[in-house]
Structure formats: structure tokens, C-alpha cells
């Protein structure tokens, strides 16, 4: 009798399980980098989405590719928030934690709520692994975990038993432990096995032994749940109320890449994406490099400067030049971006922000590049800055970034961050035919008395995008100050002032067409919480909670940081107080106070982690004396 069959037998139907309903659950899979926790987490979130929950996920992995096994530095985690209602974040407190080794336990236990379920692989709590994690005594035995519902499972042993008759190396067998634990968690939360079984069959189609092993491990883990004395309960999270339609799960980086391909098609242009590998932006390059079939050209440049240079060169030639990077790379791109400001060429710069300064914490999130994007270049250098609020919104906002760049002949910054890049949420798949086209016109005829004037502007102050190869429109552009209209090099003092002001006004004019700032909540009141970028989820969740408590609080999300919506100052003045939560020391606060002379209160966090909903909520309560 195989171990699987044994487990099946043990799961006798005579034991009646209690089923409890939960509106939402946050679980986290944590283990060594080699334990396959990202995969387990991804599978769990996919299944949860498919069964109709709302989901939000956040992976947390180390910067080291392979830190020593069992070390604290090598712990990799994946958090999933799934619910029966609309959620905005991957969750604050963890309800159930899977810890595959002592290091994973040590680094994650602080986030588990009191009374939370703690599933550990007890086989991994050996003296040497305990030492590597810095435990003097075994936490499974010393009573230090008594606040939690500890479920110690000899996962290694059970998994080996389940796979004992397969012709696989011990290493290959142990690699299936993630599916064993995934099976156990599926049982605990009543998830169906089928989607994951399908995935395994597809993924390992060419390796039947490994396929069989993973299937067995998953089923064995599931069956084992039935026998658990420590957990005489299963949890049910009902379906969420989600607008009808077709959905998929999407991360911010995926949505950004898809948005770029879409924008290129909407504009009838070739996308030329130029990038130098950098965490956490590289996935955009990887995704686009696979899209040759969609006509996408990618250049892995020799450095950050070359990447932005090639993007601008492509734009000069009439393609959609885009470059993607993170903070340290952005520093290097400044001079070239300034050239695009001066020459007035379209280019989109994606900054997937990470914790800085310098190399900082490459895999951790932060929002501390905003002022760099706005001001990090010499001279008066106006640029457009937009920021998506959620992973799925990266899709629409990158299309908007492209549209503004080509429509106004200007560099546009797209401020994503490590959290948006890697976390995922459901994405309602758009109908291609309903997406608005991006209109672009290239002149073919001279625009003044038979001559072509490259800096003769339209009513919005935008210059023509004349392409090399067009007969009769030959002209030169560059980084030297140029005479208005003709574009000839000019050192004339009054011309320079005129050009500086014209370039600034052109960008300012964009405020005429962007949507006004809207608020969620009362139009006037005691408190406005205003934010930008990835903090949106935690903030709206906290504000909605406060509103349900009857507090007079609203929130507003700035998706356009430069120019800002025209009514921004007016909105700020409608509230008694203004709170600006940011993952930096006050970039937006400085801008709002400077531009609108409204006092703003900062809530600032720089820990490489997103805000918890509770952190925002506590601050709201503090300010409103609740």
C-alpha cells in the first residue's frame, strides 16, 4: 500500500470537521530560497482567484540569489490576502503562517496574529538549522510559540513516504515538499486541487516522474489535513462581490509591459524598450523580450545611459522609445533625459523605485525618487510625472504616460515601485476595441514659407515631430539652447528666458486635459488623506474603515504629480487638516506645501515595506482624537 493510499485511509469520513466561515484570510508561505515558496504562493493565489475571492499578493524575497541554505538572509516569503469583499492590500496581520525551517519562523513570526495558525516543518528543526537561525533552544519545544496554534508536521518525512516508490533522487523528492504543504493548506481553506494539478501536468509534461511526484505530494498533503488532531477545523472564505467579466491575475511589472505593447498598437508605432538589468525593473525587460511576435524591439544596453540614449534615438526616428530602471539607474540617466527635455522629444522613463540611497535595499520598496524625477537634472527641466496606484493600474497609467509623451513631445516619468512591481491583483481584461487610439501626426510639408521650422509650436506650445527620412524637413536638434521657431543655436539672453518659460508652460498646459482630483468620501470635512503611487491600497482601506466608524475623513490619489490636477489646491483647502502618508521623508508633502501653501501632516515610513492599513488607521484616529 502506497503512502498516499495510507493517507487516504487515515482520512476517514467518520471524523466530523467543523467548518468556519471567514470574510478574509491572510496567509504567508515562508521558507528557504530553495524551498519553492514563491511557487506555492502563486499557485494558492491563482486558485483563490479562480474560486471567486478577491486577492492581493506580495512576494518578499532576498536580494541574494542563493544565500546559504537555512540562513536568515535566505528566507523567501509570499503573502496572500484573499477575501469575500473588495480588498486593496496584501494584508496587515498574518492569520496563517507556513514556516519551512527555523530561519523562516524567526523572520516571519512577528507578523502572525495572536492565536494564528502556525504550520512548521518539524523535520527542519535540527540542531544545525536552529543554530543557523540563531535559536538557542528549539522554539517548538520551549513554549515560546504558545500564543499560536502550532501545527508541527514532519513534512520532510511524510513527503518522502508518499513518494517512496518513485525513482527519484532524495533531492528531487525533497523538492516536492512545497506541494505537500500547499496541499495541506488547500485542505485547510477548502481550495480545489484541480487548477494546480492541471498546472503540474502542463509544467512537467516532459518529466513524468517529477509530475507524478508533485501530484502525489499535493494530494498527500491534502489528505494529511483530514487527520490533523491539532486542527479540527476548516475555513471557508465565500466568493467576493466582483464586477462580472473576465479576469486574470497581474503584477505591476506585467501590467506595465502589457500596457507598453498595447500603447504601441494603439499608436500604430514600434515599441523600442531599452533597459539595463536592475532590480526590481528587470522583469519588464524579460516580459517584453518575449514579445517579438508583437513587433516589440528590446535592447539590453551596455549601461543605464546607453539605455535611455537608445530610447531617445528611437523616438527621434519615430518609434516609441521607452527605458526602464530603478533609482540608481535613474541617477545615471539624468543627463540624457535633460537632452530630451531640451530637444523636446518623447520618451517614457519607468522608475520602479526601491529603497535607497545608493544601492540601498534592491528588493525592498520605497517612494523616495519623486523629487529626483521632478528636479534631478541641471537647469530648468520640466518633465511630466505620473504614478499608478495599484498593480493593475500600471496598465492604464503606462498607456497614459506614452500618450502624454508623444502628444506633448516631452519625457514622461512613470513612478512604479518594488511593491507594485511584484504584488498582484485581479485584472479585468480590457476589450481591445474599446481602448482609445493614440493619435500621432508627423509633418510631411514645410511649415513656414517653404521652410521647415522645427520649433514652431501649436496652440499648446508643442513642436512638430518631424521624422528623418522626410524630404524637405531636414533639421538639426540638440542640447544647446536654441532660437525659438528656427531651432538654430542661440545664446541670446531674452531668447533663453523665453525658451525656458515656454518649455515649462508646455508641460503646465497638460493640466488642461488631465482629470480633476477626486475624493473618496465627504467633499469637505475634518481630514483629507492625500497620496500618490502604491500607498493607495493601504490608505483607501484605512479611510473606508474610518468612514464606517463615522469619521469625517476623505482620501484622494494623485496620479499626476507634474503637472498636478488644476483643482488640487482647492481640494486641499476644503478639509481642516491634510495627511500625507508616504514611503519617504516627505516628498509629496514638500510639493503640496510649496505649491499650495497648505499645511500638511506627514506620515512617513522608510522600512522597505509598504504601509499596513492599521498604521494609516492609527494616524487617522490620532489626528481626529478618536
Amino acid at each position: 500500500m502506497s503512502a498516499t493510499a495510507a493517507a487516504m485511509t487515515m482520512a476517514s469520513p467518520s471524523k466530523q470537521r467543523r467548518i468556519e466561515e471567514r470574510p478574509e484570510v491572510v496567509i504567508r508561505f515562508a521558507g528557504d530560497s530553495g524551498d519553492g515558496m514563491q511557487l506555492a504562493g502563486t499557485q494558492f493565489s491563482n486558485v483563490s482567484a479562480v474560486v471567486g475571492n478577491d486577492i492581493s499578493t506580495l512576494p518578499d524575497f532576498p536580494a541574494e540569489i542563493r544565500a546559504p541554505a537555512g540562513s536568515l538572509a535566505g528566507v523567501s516569503g509570499y503573502q496572500i490576502h484573499f477575501s469575500s469583499y473588495d480588498i486593496y492590500t496584501p494584508g496587515d496581520r498574518v492569520h496563517a503562517l507556513v514556516a519551512m525551517n527555523p530561519a523562516a519562523l524567526k523572520t516571519n513570526i512577528k507578523d502572525l496574529e495572536e492565536g494564528g495558525i502556525l504550520i512548521v516543518n518539524s523535520d527542519a528543526f535540527t540542531t544545525s538549522d536552529l543554530q543557523k537561525a540563531g535559536y538557542k533552544t528549539n522554539p517548538l519545544e520551549d513554549g515560546s510559540l504558545k500564543k499560536y496554534r502550532l501545527v508541527a508536521v514532519p513534512i520532510t518525512k511524510l513527503n518522502r513516504e508518499a513518494l517512496s516508490d518513485l525513482k527519484l533522487s532524495p533531492r528531487e523528492v525533497d523538492r516536492c515538499r512545497n506541494f505537500f504543504v500547499l496541499g495541506l493548506v488547500y485542505w485547510l481553506y477548502e481550495r480545489p486541487l484541480e487548477p494546480t494539478l492541471r498546472w503540474i501536468k502542463e509544467k512537467f509534461a516532459r518529466n513524468p516522474a517529477v509530475m507524478e511526484a508533485n501530484i502525489r505530494a499535493l494530494k498527500a498533503g491534502y489528505s494529511y489535513g483530514e487527520t490533523l488532531e491539532e486542527l479540527p477545523v476548516q475555513y471557508r472564505v465565500p466568493k467576493a462581490k466582483i464586477p462580472p467579466g473576465r479576469y486574470r491575475k497581474i503584477t505591476g511589472n506585467e501590467a506595465t509591459a502589457l500596457g507598453l505593447v498595447t500603447a504601441a498598437q494603439l499608436a500604430g508605432k514600434t515599441l523600442v524598450y531599452c533597459s539595463y538589468p536592475i532590480t526590481p525593473a528587470s522583469d519588464i525587460l524579460h516580459t517584453l523580450a518575449e514579445m517579438r511576435r508583437y513587433g516589440v524591439l528590446t535592447i539590453q544596453a551596455e549601461d543605464e545611459i546607453a539605455a535611455v540614449g537608445a530610447a531617445i534615438g528611437a523616438s527621434f526616428g519615430g518609434a516609441l522609445g521607452v527605458t526602464g530602471t530603478s533609482g540608481p539607474g535613474l541617477c545615471l540617466k539624468s543627463e540624457a533625459i535633460n537632452l530630451a527635455v531640451m530637444a523636446e522629444l518623447p520618451v517614457v522613463i519607468i522608475d520602479v523605485q526601491r529603497a535607497g540611497p545608493s544601492t540601498g535595499m534592491p528588493t525592498k520598496t520605497e517612494q523616495a525618487d519623486l523629487l529626483q524625477a521632478l528636479f534631478g537634472r541641471n537647469g530648468e527641466s520640466p518633465v511630466v510625472v505620473v504614478a499608478p496606484a495599484s498593480p493593475a493600474e500600471c496598465f492604464t497609467m503606462i498607456i497614459e504616460a506614452i500618450r502624454l509623451a508623444v502628444s506633448y513631445m516631452t519625457p514622461v516619468f512613470f513612478m512604479s515601485d518594488g511593491y507594485l512591481a511584484n504584488s498582484a491583483e485581479p485584472w479585468p481584461i480590457p476589450k481591445v476595441e474599446q481602448l482609445p487610439k493614440i493619435e500621432i501626426q508627423h509633418p510631411t510639408e514645410p511649415n513656414e514659407d517653404g521652410q521647415f521650422m522645427p520649433y514652431k509650436r501649436d496652440h499648446r506650445l508643442v513642436r512638430p515631430w518631424a521624422l528623418p527620412g522626410t524630404p524637405g524637413l531636414e533639421h538639426r536638434i540638440g542640447g544647446l539652447e536654441k532660437e525659438d521657431v528656427t531651432g538654430n543655436v542661440s545664446y541670446d539672453p531674452l531668447n533663453h528666458e523665453h525658451m525656458v518659460r515656454t518649455r515649462a508652460q508646455k508641460v503646465a498646459n497638460i493640466a488642461d486635459e488631465i482629470p480633476p482630483l477626486s475624493v473618496v468620501g465627504p467633499e469637505t470635512g475634518d481630514l483629507l488623506v492625500i497620496s500618490w503611487g502604491s500607498t493607495y491600497g493601504a490608505i483607501i482601506a484605512a479611510v473606508e474603515r474610518a468612514q464606517r466608524k463615522g469619521l469625517s475623513v476623505a482620501c484622494a490619489q494623485l496620479r499626476y504629480l507634474n503637472p498636478m490636477p488644476k483643482n488640487t489646491g482647492e481640494v486641499l483647502r476644503r478639509y481642516k487638516r491634510v495627511l500625507v502618508p508616504e514611503l519617504n521623508l516627505g516628498h509629496l508633502r514638500l510639493l503640496l506645501q510649496g505649491r499650495y501653501l497648505v499645511e500638511c501632516i506627514g506620515l512617513n515610513k522608510v522600512q522597505g515595506r509598504p504601509f499596513l492599513v492599521s498604521e494609516i488607521e492609527e494616524k487617522i484616529h490620532e489626528l481626529l482624537h478618536v
Partner: protein, 350 residues
């Protein structure tokens, strides 16, 4: 490129209306004049030419050409040119750079443009000095060069542009001299017709800050003893009386006099098409006064270009699986349907 209906172009057609602002006597004037002549002779419509430059005296070049032009930032011209050529393979893209722009601040980009074999023509005006910043030593300045920033003489070993280009796997590498008008014209023309990255070093005199540094190659009295004209398939012979040659002694070149037991058959035969750049490298290491300095084409081989390979991947991918549609792309991951009737969860929670 179709030239059938093309009106005949003259060098004048390539002159922009801008005043040329190089110092009187600058070698750049000659290069500009020959470039206009070459462009007019290629049978390519004017609108297809693009000149891209970085920063420095030479980099003002695009302003003086009545073509498309982009005066970019210091050292980075090859990056803009790469992006442009990838997006627009139909254009003839020239990069104008100098020894500071191309080999100091922009050294990295030069290497990679050549390595990738992007179909751009890089003309490096080497005057062994920073001119626009008013006279500091450059990465090609000879040992001992006294400048404002090296008043006691430069002690940095200079870099050899041709050697660098060869090391970077360039498919076309040549050298010429600003005032050697015919040779300059012919070299630029060959660069223009090369499919792939072409690198041309031009010895260029800076009248103000480094005057006469290449005089040994231009002075009528001595130049034939100091310049070796490379010709494919021909032995390396030089000298006023064409009585000297270059022979290999082991791995080292040596100057020999013809006659006295040495015949033409003993000399190196130039082979610009050699698959390995070994000979070209040896030639690139020959420097005055021990050797005559070679000018002409060191290397000219064929290799697929960057933009062709990239665009071919697109064509092949489309051929194999059809042109991608957004609808498919959006649904390339697991998808699920949410139907109206199913939704039953609470809307708000605390």
C-alpha cells in the same frame, strides 16, 4: 537604395545655412568639406542622412550639414545612433566624435556599438587634446604632452583608437588624415558603403592647442617616410623612393630596406579581409618614430548587423506563430470568469 529618380546632388546641397565656427586653420574644415563631397556622391537622397554627435569641437559637425542631425550629450552619440538605427534601418547614420568624447567619457558606448555591429559610421576626429574646454590632455595625448591640466607633462599612457576598435570586434576599421584630401574622401566613401559598424580615425590638427602633433604625417618633406598606405593584397611598402617595407620577425613587425637581400616577397601582404584581426592589430601598434604609421583600411569584414538580427527575430517569431494579438496576450495567463449571479459576498467589513 533607389537613386534612379534622384536629382544630382552637389556638396553645396549638404551645406547648412549656419556659420561654421571652428578656429581658423582647424582640421575639421577639411573633414567637413570632404564629407559633403562624399555624401553628394553616394546616390542617396539627402533626407536619409543623419549625423549624430556628442560634445566637443568635432561634435558641432551636424549643425553644418543640411541633413537631419542630433547634437547629443558627451560621449553618448553611439547610444542615440543605435536606437535610431534599430528603429529606422532605412537611414544612413553617421556618428561624429572626438578622442575625448569617443574614447574617454564615451569609451564604453564605442566598444559596444562596434561589438554589436550596428550599421553606423563612426568618425573619430583625433587631435590628441580637449579643444572645446580649452586645452587639456586627452586619452590619446602622448606621454609628456604639456597642457593646462598637465603642465609638467602627461604621464598617462595613451590609448590607441584603432587597437581599441579592433579589440571591440569592429568589422570596418580605418585611419586617414585631415589634409590628405583624396585619401580622406576615399576612406569616408568606403565607410559609407560598409554594411555594419565602420570606425574611422582621422588624424586632425588642432591649430590652437596641439598644433603640429601630426606634422610628421603631413609635412611634404617627411611624410612619405612616416606614412604607410595600406592596400588590400599589396605588400607593405613605403618611403619617398618606395624602397622600404614591413616584414614580420616572429610576432613583431620590423622595418626593412628593399634590396640588400630583402625582396618584396619577404614583406607582409596586407589582408583587410582576414577573419582574425591579428595582422590588423600588429599594424595598429606601429607608431612613429619607430615605424611609419599605417593609414587606410585595417579591417573590412562582413558580419550580420545588430538591427538586422533584431528585426529578423521579430520576422521569424511572426513567421513561426503569427503576429501577436493583444487579445491573446491579455489571456496568456490563467483567466477566470465572474458572472453576475454568483457575487454574494459582503461589501464592507471591519
Amino acid at each position: 537604395m533607389p537613386a534612379a529618380s534622384l536629382p544630382t546632388l552637389t556638396p553645396k546641397d549638404f551645406a547648412s545655412d549656419q556659420d561654421v565656427r571652428w578656429c581658423p586653420g582647424c582640421g575639421d574644415y577639411s573633414i567637413l568639406a570632404q564629407m559633403k563631397k562624399v555624401c553628394a556622391s553616394l546616390g542617396i537622397p539627402r533626407e536619409r542622412f543623419v549625423f549624430i554627435s556628442g560634445i566637443g569641437c568635432s561634435s558641432r559637425f551636424p549643425y553644418y550639414m543640411n541633413t537631419y542631425g542630433f547634437h547629443t550629450i558627451h560621449g553618448r552619440a553611439p547610444t542615440f545612433a543605435t536606437g535610431l538605427k534599430v528603429a529606422r534601418p532605412d537611414l544612413l547614420v553617421w556618428v561624429i566624435t572626438g578622442d575625448g568624447d569617443g574614447l574617454s567619457i564615451g569609451g564604453n558606448h564605442l566598444l559596444h556599438a562596434l561589438r554589436r555591429n550596428v550599421d553606423i559610421k563612426i568618425i573619430l576626429f583625433n587631435n590628441e587634446i580637449y579643444g572645446l574646454t580649452k586645452g587639456q590632455y586627452s586619452p590619446t595625448s602622448r606621454l609628456g604632452t604639456r597642457t593646462k591640466s598637465s603642465p609638467l607633462g602627461s604621464f598617462e599612457n595613451p590609448i590607441r583608437p584603432i587597437t581599441i576598435a579592433l579589440a571591440a570586434e569592429a568589422t570596418f576599421v580605418a585611419r586617414t588624415i585631415d589634409v590628405d584630401v583624396n585619401h580622406l574622401t576615399e576612406t569616408l566613401r568606403r565607410a559609407a558603403f560598409h554594411k555594419g559598424s565602420a570606425f574611422v580615425e582621422v588624424y586632425q590638427n588642432c591649430k590652437v592647442f596641439n598644433d603640429g602633433v601630426f606634422e610628421y604625417t603631413t609635412d611634404k618633406e617627411v611624410k612619405s617616410d612616416n606614412v604607410l598606405y595600406l592596400e588590400h593584397g599589396k605588400p607593405l611598402i613605403f618611403g619617398k623612393n618606395r624602397d622600404k617595407g614591413i616584414r614580420l620577425n616572429g610576432l613583431e613587425p620590423e622595418v626593412v630596406e628593399l634590396g640588400k637581400g630583402v625582396s618584396v616577397d619577404d614583406l607582409i601582404i596586407h589582408d583587410e579581409k582576414a577573419a582574425e584581426p591579428t595582422l590588423a592589430f600588429v599594424l595598429s601598434r606601429m607608431y612613429y618614430p619607430q615605424f611609419p604609421e599605417p593609414v587606410g583600411v585595417f579591417r573590412a569584414i562582413e558580419r550580420p548587423t545588430f538591427e538586422d538580427l533584431l528585426n529578423r527575430q521579430v520576422e521569424d517569431a511572426i513567421k513561426a506563430k503569427g503576429r501577436g494579438k493583444l487579445e491573446e496576450l491579455f489571456q496568456s495567463e490563467d483567466i477566470w470568469e465572474v458572472e453576475e449571479a454568483e457575487a454574494n459576498g459582503p461589501t464592507a467589513l471591519d
